[in-house]
Protein backbone atom coordinates (compact mmCIF):
# COMPACT_ATOMS: atom_id res chain seq x y z
CA UNK A 1 0.00 0.00 0.00
CA UNK A 2 2.86 2.33 0.94
CA UNK A 3 6.17 2.03 -0.82
CA UNK A 4 9.31 3.98 0.12
CA UNK A 5 12.27 3.81 -2.23
CA UNK A 6 15.60 5.28 -1.11
CA UNK A 7 13.91 8.13 0.75
CA UNK A 8 16.20 10.79 2.20
CA UNK A 9 15.23 13.90 4.16
CA UNK A 10 17.52 16.84 4.85
CA UNK A 11 17.36 20.01 6.89
CA UNK A 12 19.92 22.17 5.13
CA UNK A 13 23.21 20.33 5.52
CA UNK A 14 21.82 17.90 8.13
CA UNK A 15 20.62 14.60 6.71
CA UNK A 16 17.93 13.31 9.06
CA UNK A 17 16.86 10.29 6.95
CA UNK A 18 19.22 8.40 4.63
CA UNK A 19 18.10 6.15 1.80
CA UNK A 20 15.26 4.41 3.55
CA UNK A 21 13.35 1.78 1.59
CA UNK A 22 10.34 0.23 3.23
CA UNK A 23 6.81 -1.02 2.56
CA UNK A 24 3.54 -1.27 4.39
CA UNK A 25 1.01 -3.78 3.05
CA UNK A 26 -2.75 -3.48 3.19
CA UNK A 27 -4.16 -4.45 6.61
CA UNK A 28 -0.81 -4.49 8.41
CA UNK A 29 0.38 -2.66 11.48
CA UNK A 30 4.02 -1.79 10.99
CA UNK A 31 6.06 -0.38 13.88
CA UNK A 32 8.74 2.21 13.19
CA UNK A 33 11.12 2.17 16.12
CA UNK A 34 14.33 3.89 17.08
CA UNK A 35 15.85 6.19 19.66
CA UNK A 36 15.17 9.88 20.01
CA UNK A 37 16.56 11.82 17.05
CA UNK A 38 16.70 8.77 14.79
CA UNK A 39 14.64 10.47 12.09
CA UNK A 40 11.25 8.83 12.66
CA UNK A 41 9.25 12.06 12.73
CA UNK A 42 11.18 13.40 9.74
CA UNK A 43 10.37 10.25 7.79
CA UNK A 44 6.61 10.18 8.42
CA UNK A 45 6.36 13.96 7.92
CA UNK A 46 8.02 13.64 4.53
CA UNK A 47 5.77 10.74 3.51
CA UNK A 48 2.65 12.81 4.10
CA UNK A 49 4.21 15.88 2.47
CA UNK A 50 4.62 18.20 5.47
CA UNK A 51 8.34 18.42 4.72
CA UNK A 52 9.91 17.70 1.34
CA UNK A 53 11.54 14.41 0.42
CA UNK A 54 15.04 15.40 -0.71
CA UNK A 55 15.65 12.27 -2.76
CA UNK A 56 13.99 8.95 -3.43
CA UNK A 57 10.31 8.31 -3.95
CA UNK A 58 7.10 7.61 -2.06
CA UNK A 59 4.32 5.54 -3.60
CA UNK A 60 0.80 5.11 -2.26
CA UNK A 61 -1.52 2.57 -3.89
CA UNK A 62 0.92 2.37 -6.79
CA UNK A 63 0.77 6.13 -7.41
CA UNK A 64 3.80 8.38 -6.97
CA UNK A 65 3.10 10.94 -4.22
CA UNK A 66 6.67 12.12 -3.62
CA UNK A 67 5.93 15.73 -4.53
CA UNK A 68 2.17 15.74 -3.94
CA UNK A 69 1.01 18.49 -1.56
CA UNK A 70 -0.14 17.33 1.86
CA UNK A 71 -3.79 18.31 1.26
CA UNK A 72 -3.98 16.05 -1.77
CA UNK A 73 -2.27 13.14 -0.04
CA UNK A 74 -4.85 13.28 2.75
CA UNK A 75 -7.59 13.32 0.13
CA UNK A 76 -6.10 10.13 -1.36
CA UNK A 77 -6.65 8.37 1.97
CA UNK A 78 -3.27 8.56 3.73
CA UNK A 79 -2.95 10.67 6.86
CA UNK A 80 -0.83 11.29 9.93
CA UNK A 81 -1.63 11.95 13.59
CA UNK A 82 1.34 14.16 14.35
CA UNK A 83 3.77 13.90 17.23
CA UNK A 84 2.62 15.87 20.26
CA UNK A 85 -1.07 15.51 19.19
CA UNK A 86 -1.39 19.13 18.06
CA UNK A 87 -5.10 19.45 18.70
CA UNK A 88 -6.42 22.94 17.91
CA UNK A 89 -6.25 24.78 21.20
CA UNK A 90 -9.13 27.16 21.82
CA UNK A 91 -11.40 25.16 19.51
CA UNK A 92 -13.92 22.72 20.92
CA UNK A 93 -13.75 18.95 20.57
CA UNK A 94 -16.67 19.22 18.15
CA UNK A 95 -14.84 21.81 16.01
CA UNK A 96 -11.64 19.75 15.99
CA UNK A 97 -13.60 16.76 14.72
CA UNK A 98 -15.48 18.85 12.16
CA UNK A 99 -12.15 20.07 10.77
CA UNK A 100 -11.04 16.48 10.49
CA UNK A 101 -14.01 15.81 8.21
CA UNK A 102 -13.14 18.67 5.84
CA UNK A 103 -12.43 16.34 2.94
CA UNK A 104 -15.87 14.73 3.19
CA UNK A 105 -18.78 16.20 1.28
CA UNK A 106 -21.47 13.66 2.15
CA UNK A 107 -23.06 14.99 5.36
CA UNK A 108 -24.81 11.77 6.26
CA UNK A 109 -21.55 9.87 5.93
CA UNK A 110 -19.80 12.42 8.17
CA UNK A 111 -22.47 11.95 10.85
CA UNK A 112 -22.03 8.19 10.61
CA UNK A 113 -18.24 8.44 10.91
CA UNK A 114 -18.60 10.80 13.85
CA UNK A 115 -20.97 8.39 15.59
CA UNK A 116 -18.52 5.52 15.05
CA UNK A 117 -15.66 7.33 16.74
CA UNK A 118 -17.70 8.89 19.53
CA UNK A 119 -18.74 5.31 20.23
CA UNK A 120 -15.11 4.20 20.22
CA UNK A 121 -13.94 7.16 22.34
CA UNK A 122 -16.89 7.89 24.67
CA UNK A 123 -14.88 10.52 26.54
CA UNK A 124 -15.01 12.71 23.42
CA UNK A 125 -18.79 12.61 23.49
CA UNK A 126 -18.68 13.63 27.14
CA UNK A 127 -16.32 16.53 26.40
CA UNK A 128 -17.90 17.34 23.04
CA UNK A 129 -18.44 21.07 23.64
CA UNK A 130 -15.36 21.72 25.79
CA UNK A 131 -12.27 23.35 24.35
CA UNK A 132 -9.57 20.87 23.44
CA UNK A 133 -7.09 22.41 25.87
CA UNK A 134 -9.18 21.31 28.87
CA UNK A 135 -8.62 17.66 27.92
CA UNK A 136 -5.95 15.51 29.60
CA UNK A 137 -3.00 14.27 27.54
CA UNK A 138 -4.59 10.90 26.90
CA UNK A 139 -7.91 12.48 25.92
CA UNK A 140 -6.12 14.86 23.55
CA UNK A 141 -4.40 11.88 21.94
CA UNK A 142 -7.76 10.20 21.43
CA UNK A 143 -9.11 13.43 19.95
CA UNK A 144 -6.11 13.69 17.62
CA UNK A 145 -6.61 10.11 16.43
CA UNK A 146 -10.37 10.55 16.00
CA UNK A 147 -9.77 13.81 14.12
CA UNK A 148 -7.47 11.97 11.69
CA UNK A 149 -10.03 9.21 11.29
CA UNK A 150 -12.78 11.68 10.38
CA UNK A 151 -11.23 11.91 6.90
CA UNK A 152 -11.91 8.15 6.54
CA UNK A 153 -8.31 7.27 5.68
CA UNK A 154 -7.30 3.91 4.32
CA UNK A 155 -3.92 4.23 5.97
CA UNK A 156 -3.05 6.05 9.19
CA UNK A 157 0.40 6.94 10.46
CA UNK A 158 0.67 7.62 14.19
CA UNK A 159 3.71 9.50 15.47
CA UNK A 160 4.42 8.51 19.09
CA UNK A 161 0.85 8.20 20.31
CA UNK A 162 2.12 7.26 23.78
CA UNK A 163 4.36 10.30 24.20
CA UNK A 164 4.18 11.72 27.72
CA UNK A 165 1.26 9.52 28.81
CA UNK A 166 0.95 7.41 31.98
CA UNK A 167 1.37 3.63 31.42
CA UNK A 168 -2.28 2.93 32.11
CA UNK A 169 -3.35 5.49 29.49
CA UNK A 170 -0.79 4.17 27.00
CA UNK A 171 -2.35 0.74 27.36
CA UNK A 172 -5.78 2.18 26.50
CA UNK A 173 -4.40 3.93 23.39
CA UNK A 174 -2.73 0.72 22.24
CA UNK A 175 -5.98 -1.19 22.71
CA UNK A 176 -7.65 1.31 20.41
CA UNK A 177 -4.91 0.80 17.83
CA UNK A 178 -5.61 -2.95 17.87
CA UNK A 179 -9.33 -2.24 17.57
CA UNK A 180 -8.66 -0.05 14.51
CA UNK A 181 -6.56 -2.77 12.91
CA UNK A 182 -9.43 -5.20 13.37
CA UNK A 183 -11.68 -2.76 11.53
CA UNK A 184 -9.31 -3.10 8.56
CA UNK A 185 -7.22 0.06 8.86
CA UNK A 186 -3.61 -0.09 7.71
CA UNK A 187 -1.20 1.59 10.13
CA UNK A 188 2.37 2.71 10.52
CA UNK A 189 3.05 3.38 14.20
CA UNK A 190 6.11 5.31 15.37
CA UNK A 191 7.02 4.35 18.92
CA UNK A 192 9.72 4.55 21.54
CA UNK A 193 7.85 2.03 23.71
CA UNK A 194 9.39 -0.76 21.65
CA UNK A 195 8.28 -3.76 23.71
CA UNK A 196 4.62 -2.74 23.79
CA UNK A 197 4.55 -1.70 20.14
CA UNK A 198 6.04 -5.02 19.05
CA UNK A 199 3.26 -6.81 20.91
CA UNK A 200 0.63 -5.50 18.48
CA UNK A 201 2.68 -4.89 15.32
CA UNK A 202 3.02 -7.38 12.46
CA UNK A 203 6.37 -6.14 11.24
CA UNK A 204 8.93 -3.61 12.42
CA UNK A 205 11.58 -1.29 11.08
CA UNK A 206 14.29 0.15 13.31
CA UNK A 207 15.83 3.49 12.44
CA UNK A 208 19.11 4.73 13.94
CA UNK A 209 20.82 7.96 12.91
CA UNK A 210 18.59 8.17 9.86
CA UNK A 211 19.41 4.68 8.54
CA UNK A 212 17.38 1.49 8.64
CA UNK A 213 19.23 -1.01 10.82
CA UNK A 214 16.57 -3.71 11.11
CA UNK A 215 13.56 -4.89 9.23
CA UNK A 216 11.57 -8.02 9.89
CA UNK A 217 8.74 -9.65 11.77
CA UNK A 218 7.84 -7.95 15.02
CA UNK A 219 8.03 -11.27 16.82
CA UNK A 220 11.57 -11.87 15.55
CA UNK A 221 12.76 -8.58 17.01
CA UNK A 222 10.77 -8.93 20.23
CA UNK A 223 12.04 -12.43 20.95
CA UNK A 224 15.70 -11.63 20.41
CA UNK A 225 17.35 -9.99 23.42
CA UNK A 226 20.44 -9.52 21.31
CA UNK A 227 18.58 -7.51 18.64
CA UNK A 228 16.59 -5.52 21.17
CA UNK A 229 19.78 -4.66 23.06
CA UNK A 230 21.69 -3.79 19.90
CA UNK A 231 19.10 -1.56 18.30
CA UNK A 232 16.94 -0.26 21.08
CA UNK A 233 19.02 -0.69 24.24
CA UNK A 234 16.10 -2.39 25.95
CA UNK A 235 16.84 -6.10 25.68
CA UNK A 236 17.65 -7.12 29.25
CA UNK A 237 15.52 -5.37 31.81
Amino acid sequence: MLQLTDVSVSYGPIQAVRNVSATVEQGEIVALLGPNGAGKTSLVSSIVGIIPVSSGSVGFDGEDITRTPVESIVRKGLTLTPEGRRVFAGLSVAENLRLGASTQSDRAAVEETLETYLEMFPILRERYHQTATTLSGGEQQMLAIARSLMSRPRMLMLDEPSLGLAPRVVERIFEHIVELKQSGLTMLVVEQNATEALAFADRAYVLASGKLVFEGAASELASSDRLMEAYLGTGVD
Partner: protein, 298 residues
Protein backbone atom coordinates in the same frame (compact mmCIF):
# COMPACT_ATOMS: atom_id res chain seq x y z
CA UNK B 1 -26.05 66.70 26.23
CA UNK B 2 -26.05 67.08 22.47
CA UNK B 3 -22.30 67.76 22.56
CA UNK B 4 -21.68 64.66 24.64
CA UNK B 5 -23.69 62.39 22.31
CA UNK B 6 -22.01 63.94 19.28
CA UNK B 7 -18.57 63.28 20.71
CA UNK B 8 -19.54 59.73 21.66
CA UNK B 9 -20.74 58.88 18.16
CA UNK B 10 -17.64 60.57 16.79
CA UNK B 11 -15.44 58.42 19.06
CA UNK B 12 -17.32 55.27 18.11
CA UNK B 13 -17.03 55.97 14.40
CA UNK B 14 -13.29 56.69 14.51
CA UNK B 15 -12.75 53.73 16.84
CA UNK B 16 -14.83 51.54 14.56
CA UNK B 17 -12.82 52.61 11.53
CA UNK B 18 -9.54 51.70 13.25
CA UNK B 19 -11.06 48.43 14.41
CA UNK B 20 -12.00 47.49 10.81
CA UNK B 21 -8.48 48.26 9.64
CA UNK B 22 -6.81 46.50 12.57
CA UNK B 23 -9.00 43.41 12.11
CA UNK B 24 -7.90 43.15 8.49
CA UNK B 25 -4.27 43.38 9.46
CA UNK B 26 -4.70 40.90 12.32
CA UNK B 27 -6.57 38.25 10.34
CA UNK B 28 -3.76 37.99 7.79
CA UNK B 29 -1.11 38.14 10.51
CA UNK B 30 -2.74 35.45 12.64
CA UNK B 31 -2.64 32.99 9.75
CA UNK B 32 0.51 33.93 7.86
CA UNK B 33 2.70 35.71 10.43
CA UNK B 34 2.78 38.53 7.92
CA UNK B 35 2.32 42.18 8.86
CA UNK B 36 0.85 43.40 5.59
CA UNK B 37 2.07 46.97 5.42
CA UNK B 38 0.49 47.21 1.98
CA UNK B 39 -2.88 47.17 3.77
CA UNK B 40 -3.04 50.97 3.45
CA UNK B 41 -2.77 50.72 -0.33
CA UNK B 42 -6.02 48.75 -0.38
CA UNK B 43 -7.69 51.94 0.84
CA UNK B 44 -5.82 54.00 -1.73
CA UNK B 45 -6.82 51.64 -4.55
CA UNK B 46 -10.44 51.65 -3.37
CA UNK B 47 -10.32 55.43 -3.61
CA UNK B 48 -8.80 55.48 -7.09
CA UNK B 49 -11.35 52.92 -8.26
CA UNK B 50 -14.02 55.44 -7.22
CA UNK B 51 -12.18 58.23 -9.04
CA UNK B 52 -11.86 56.32 -12.31
CA UNK B 53 -15.36 54.87 -12.20
CA UNK B 54 -16.77 58.36 -11.68
CA UNK B 55 -14.75 59.66 -14.61
CA UNK B 56 -15.63 56.83 -16.99
CA UNK B 57 -19.03 55.34 -16.42
CA UNK B 58 -20.66 55.96 -13.08
CA UNK B 59 -22.91 59.00 -12.85
CA UNK B 60 -24.65 58.43 -9.52
CA UNK B 61 -22.03 58.50 -6.72
CA UNK B 62 -23.94 55.96 -4.66
CA UNK B 63 -22.64 53.23 -6.96
CA UNK B 64 -19.10 54.32 -6.11
CA UNK B 65 -19.44 52.95 -2.58
CA UNK B 66 -19.73 49.24 -3.48
CA UNK B 67 -17.12 49.81 -6.21
CA UNK B 68 -14.68 50.98 -3.53
CA UNK B 69 -15.30 47.89 -1.37
CA UNK B 70 -15.05 45.53 -4.35
CA UNK B 71 -11.85 47.17 -5.59
CA UNK B 72 -10.17 46.88 -2.20
CA UNK B 73 -11.23 43.22 -1.90
CA UNK B 74 -10.00 42.51 -5.41
CA UNK B 75 -6.71 44.28 -4.75
CA UNK B 76 -6.14 42.22 -1.59
CA UNK B 77 -6.74 39.00 -3.54
CA UNK B 78 -4.43 40.22 -6.29
CA UNK B 79 -1.66 41.12 -3.82
CA UNK B 80 -1.89 37.63 -2.35
CA UNK B 81 -1.83 35.90 -5.71
CA UNK B 82 0.93 37.95 -7.30
CA UNK B 83 3.16 39.09 -4.45
CA UNK B 84 2.68 37.09 -1.27
CA UNK B 85 2.07 33.57 -2.57
CA UNK B 86 5.56 33.21 -4.09
CA UNK B 87 7.18 34.09 -0.75
CA UNK B 88 4.72 32.21 1.46
CA UNK B 89 7.27 29.74 2.76
CA UNK B 90 10.13 32.21 2.95
CA UNK B 91 11.32 33.65 6.29
CA UNK B 92 9.04 36.23 7.90
CA UNK B 93 11.29 39.16 7.04
CA UNK B 94 10.93 38.33 3.34
CA UNK B 95 7.17 38.66 3.64
CA UNK B 96 7.54 41.98 5.43
CA UNK B 97 9.88 43.32 2.74
CA UNK B 98 7.47 42.09 0.07
CA UNK B 99 4.68 44.05 1.76
CA UNK B 100 6.79 47.22 1.75
CA UNK B 101 7.62 46.51 -1.89
CA UNK B 102 3.96 46.20 -2.88
CA UNK B 103 3.20 49.40 -1.00
CA UNK B 104 5.95 51.34 -2.75
CA UNK B 105 5.09 49.96 -6.19
CA UNK B 106 1.44 50.97 -5.85
CA UNK B 107 2.31 54.44 -4.55
CA UNK B 108 4.81 55.08 -7.31
CA UNK B 109 2.59 53.71 -10.05
CA UNK B 110 -0.09 56.16 -8.98
CA UNK B 111 2.43 59.00 -8.72
CA UNK B 112 3.78 58.35 -12.19
CA UNK B 113 0.67 57.36 -14.12
CA UNK B 114 -2.03 59.39 -12.42
CA UNK B 115 -1.02 62.47 -10.50
CA UNK B 116 1.01 63.57 -7.52
CA UNK B 117 -1.66 65.94 -6.25
CA UNK B 118 -4.91 65.05 -4.49
CA UNK B 119 -7.92 64.54 -6.76
CA UNK B 120 -11.48 65.09 -5.60
CA UNK B 121 -13.77 62.06 -5.47
CA UNK B 122 -17.55 62.48 -5.73
CA UNK B 123 -19.38 61.39 -2.58
CA UNK B 124 -23.18 61.17 -2.33
CA UNK B 125 -24.54 64.42 -0.86
CA UNK B 126 -26.62 62.73 1.80
CA UNK B 127 -23.44 61.24 3.30
CA UNK B 128 -22.05 64.68 3.94
CA UNK B 129 -25.10 65.96 5.82
CA UNK B 130 -26.50 65.38 9.26
CA UNK B 131 -29.23 63.07 10.43
CA UNK B 132 -31.71 63.81 13.16
CA UNK B 133 -32.07 61.06 15.76
CA UNK B 134 -34.17 61.65 18.89
CA UNK B 135 -33.94 65.37 18.42
CA UNK B 136 -30.14 65.36 18.06
CA UNK B 137 -28.29 66.41 14.91
CA UNK B 138 -25.58 63.89 14.16
CA UNK B 139 -23.22 63.70 11.19
CA UNK B 140 -24.46 61.05 8.74
CA UNK B 141 -20.95 59.70 8.06
CA UNK B 142 -20.37 58.94 11.71
CA UNK B 143 -23.73 57.28 12.29
CA UNK B 144 -23.31 55.17 9.15
CA UNK B 145 -19.76 54.23 9.98
CA UNK B 146 -20.65 53.14 13.49
CA UNK B 147 -23.53 51.01 12.21
CA UNK B 148 -21.44 49.50 9.43
CA UNK B 149 -18.73 48.56 11.91
CA UNK B 150 -21.26 46.77 14.10
CA UNK B 151 -22.71 44.91 11.11
CA UNK B 152 -19.26 44.01 9.77
CA UNK B 153 -18.06 42.78 13.16
CA UNK B 154 -21.19 40.65 13.55
CA UNK B 155 -20.70 39.26 10.05
CA UNK B 156 -17.09 38.46 10.81
CA UNK B 157 -18.03 36.62 14.00
CA UNK B 158 -20.64 34.60 12.08
CA UNK B 159 -18.13 33.82 9.34
CA UNK B 160 -15.52 32.66 11.82
CA UNK B 161 -17.83 30.55 13.97
CA UNK B 162 -20.50 29.23 11.61
CA UNK B 163 -18.80 28.49 8.31
CA UNK B 164 -16.26 25.84 7.40
CA UNK B 165 -13.94 28.43 5.89
CA UNK B 166 -14.11 30.52 9.07
CA UNK B 167 -13.42 27.49 11.23
CA UNK B 168 -10.45 26.60 9.05
CA UNK B 169 -9.18 30.18 9.34
CA UNK B 170 -9.35 30.06 13.13
CA UNK B 171 -7.60 26.70 13.17
CA UNK B 172 -4.95 27.95 10.73
CA UNK B 173 -4.16 30.75 13.15
CA UNK B 174 -3.24 28.06 15.70
CA UNK B 175 -1.46 25.50 13.55
CA UNK B 176 -1.42 25.84 9.78
CA UNK B 177 0.42 22.57 9.15
CA UNK B 178 -2.25 20.55 10.91
CA UNK B 179 -4.98 22.40 9.00
CA UNK B 180 -3.39 21.16 5.79
CA UNK B 181 -3.16 17.71 7.35
CA UNK B 182 -6.97 17.84 7.59
CA UNK B 183 -7.00 17.98 3.78
CA UNK B 184 -7.92 21.67 3.74
CA UNK B 185 -6.32 23.60 0.89
CA UNK B 186 -3.89 26.20 2.22
CA UNK B 187 -4.57 28.46 -0.78
CA UNK B 188 -8.25 28.68 0.04
CA UNK B 189 -7.71 29.61 3.68
CA UNK B 190 -5.14 32.28 2.85
CA UNK B 191 -7.20 33.67 0.00
CA UNK B 192 -10.15 33.84 2.40
CA UNK B 193 -8.09 35.77 4.93
CA UNK B 194 -6.91 38.28 2.31
CA UNK B 195 -10.41 38.68 0.90
CA UNK B 196 -11.82 39.41 4.36
CA UNK B 197 -9.01 41.86 5.11
CA UNK B 198 -9.59 43.61 1.76
CA UNK B 199 -13.33 43.78 2.34
CA UNK B 200 -12.87 45.38 5.76
CA UNK B 201 -10.30 47.82 4.37
CA UNK B 202 -12.70 48.72 1.54
CA UNK B 203 -15.47 49.38 4.01
CA UNK B 204 -13.21 51.65 6.06
CA UNK B 205 -12.05 53.31 2.83
CA UNK B 206 -15.60 54.38 1.99
CA UNK B 207 -15.74 56.41 5.18
CA UNK B 208 -12.18 57.65 4.99
CA UNK B 209 -13.00 59.03 1.54
CA UNK B 210 -16.32 60.44 2.64
CA UNK B 211 -14.38 62.46 5.21
CA UNK B 212 -11.48 63.53 3.02
CA UNK B 213 -13.37 63.88 -0.25
CA UNK B 214 -10.14 63.33 -2.21
CA UNK B 215 -7.57 60.69 -3.09
CA UNK B 216 -3.80 60.93 -3.24
CA UNK B 217 -1.15 58.24 -3.65
CA UNK B 218 0.07 58.46 -0.04
CA UNK B 219 -3.32 58.38 1.64
CA UNK B 220 -2.90 54.79 2.86
CA UNK B 221 0.00 55.52 5.15
CA UNK B 222 -1.79 57.06 8.10
CA UNK B 223 -4.54 54.38 8.25
CA UNK B 224 -2.11 51.46 8.11
CA UNK B 225 -0.04 53.07 10.84
CA UNK B 226 -3.13 53.47 13.01
CA UNK B 227 -4.13 49.86 12.32
CA UNK B 228 -0.66 48.66 13.26
CA UNK B 229 -0.66 50.65 16.50
CA UNK B 230 -4.16 49.33 17.28
CA UNK B 231 -2.96 45.74 16.79
CA UNK B 232 0.07 46.28 19.01
CA UNK B 233 -2.11 47.96 21.63
CA UNK B 234 -4.66 45.14 21.61
CA UNK B 235 -2.14 42.32 21.39
CA UNK B 236 -0.79 41.24 18.01
CA UNK B 237 -2.35 38.14 16.51
CA UNK B 238 -5.58 38.30 18.50
CA UNK B 239 -8.68 39.36 16.55
CA UNK B 240 -10.49 40.48 19.66
CA UNK B 241 -7.35 42.39 20.62
CA UNK B 242 -7.35 44.14 17.23
CA UNK B 243 -10.98 45.20 17.64
CA UNK B 244 -10.45 46.40 21.21
CA UNK B 245 -7.17 48.11 20.28
CA UNK B 246 -8.79 49.90 17.33
CA UNK B 247 -11.76 51.07 19.36
CA UNK B 248 -9.56 52.26 22.25
CA UNK B 249 -7.18 54.09 19.95
CA UNK B 250 -9.94 55.89 18.08
CA UNK B 251 -11.82 56.84 21.21
CA UNK B 252 -8.64 58.07 22.87
CA UNK B 253 -7.92 60.29 19.88
CA UNK B 254 -11.39 61.81 19.94
CA UNK B 255 -11.26 62.24 23.71
CA UNK B 256 -7.97 64.13 23.48
CA UNK B 257 -9.23 66.16 20.54
CA UNK B 258 -12.22 67.27 22.56
CA UNK B 259 -10.42 67.99 25.82
CA UNK B 260 -6.91 69.19 24.99
CA UNK B 261 -6.34 72.94 25.23
CA UNK B 262 -5.80 74.47 21.82
CA UNK B 263 -2.07 75.22 22.40
CA UNK B 264 -1.21 71.50 22.66
CA UNK B 265 -3.90 70.10 20.34
CA UNK B 266 -1.31 69.92 17.56
CA UNK B 267 0.57 67.34 19.59
CA UNK B 268 -2.43 65.04 19.79
CA UNK B 269 -0.85 62.15 17.90
CA UNK B 270 2.36 62.42 19.89
CA UNK B 271 0.38 62.29 23.13
CA UNK B 272 -1.62 59.30 21.85
CA UNK B 273 1.55 57.37 21.02
CA UNK B 274 3.02 58.28 24.38
CA UNK B 275 -0.03 56.84 26.13
CA UNK B 276 0.09 53.71 23.95
CA UNK B 277 3.76 53.36 24.92
CA UNK B 278 2.81 53.62 28.58
CA UNK B 279 0.21 50.86 28.17
CA UNK B 280 2.84 48.65 26.56
CA UNK B 281 5.24 49.17 29.47
CA UNK B 282 2.45 48.11 31.77
CA UNK B 283 1.36 45.21 29.52
CA UNK B 284 4.14 44.39 27.03
CA UNK B 285 1.97 41.96 25.05
CA UNK B 286 -0.89 44.42 24.61
CA UNK B 287 -4.24 44.73 26.32
CA UNK B 288 -5.44 41.22 25.43
CA UNK B 289 -2.22 39.57 24.32
CA UNK B 290 -0.96 36.49 26.11
CA UNK B 291 2.64 36.15 27.10
CA UNK B 292 4.30 33.80 24.65
CA UNK B 293 7.59 32.13 25.37
CA UNK B 294 10.10 32.12 22.57
CA UNK B 295 9.59 29.03 20.44
CA UNK B 296 6.06 28.41 21.65
CA UNK B 297 3.49 27.80 18.95
CA UNK B 298 0.47 28.56 21.07
Amino acid sequence: MEYFVQQTINALSVGGEYALLALGLAIVFSIMNLVNFAHGELITLGGYAMLFSAAWFVSDPIYLLPICVLAATGAAILFERVAFRPVRNAPETTGLLTAFGVSIVVQNALLIFVATRPKPVPIPDWMQGTIQIAGLHLPMVQVLETSCTVVAATGLILLLTKTNLGLAMRAAAKDFTVVRLMGIKADRVILGAFAVSGFLAGLAAVFILARRGAVDPMMGFSPVLKAFVACVLGGFGSLLGAAVGGLSLGMLEVLLQATLPSEVAGFRDAIVFLLVGAVLIWRPTGLLGKRVELGDKE
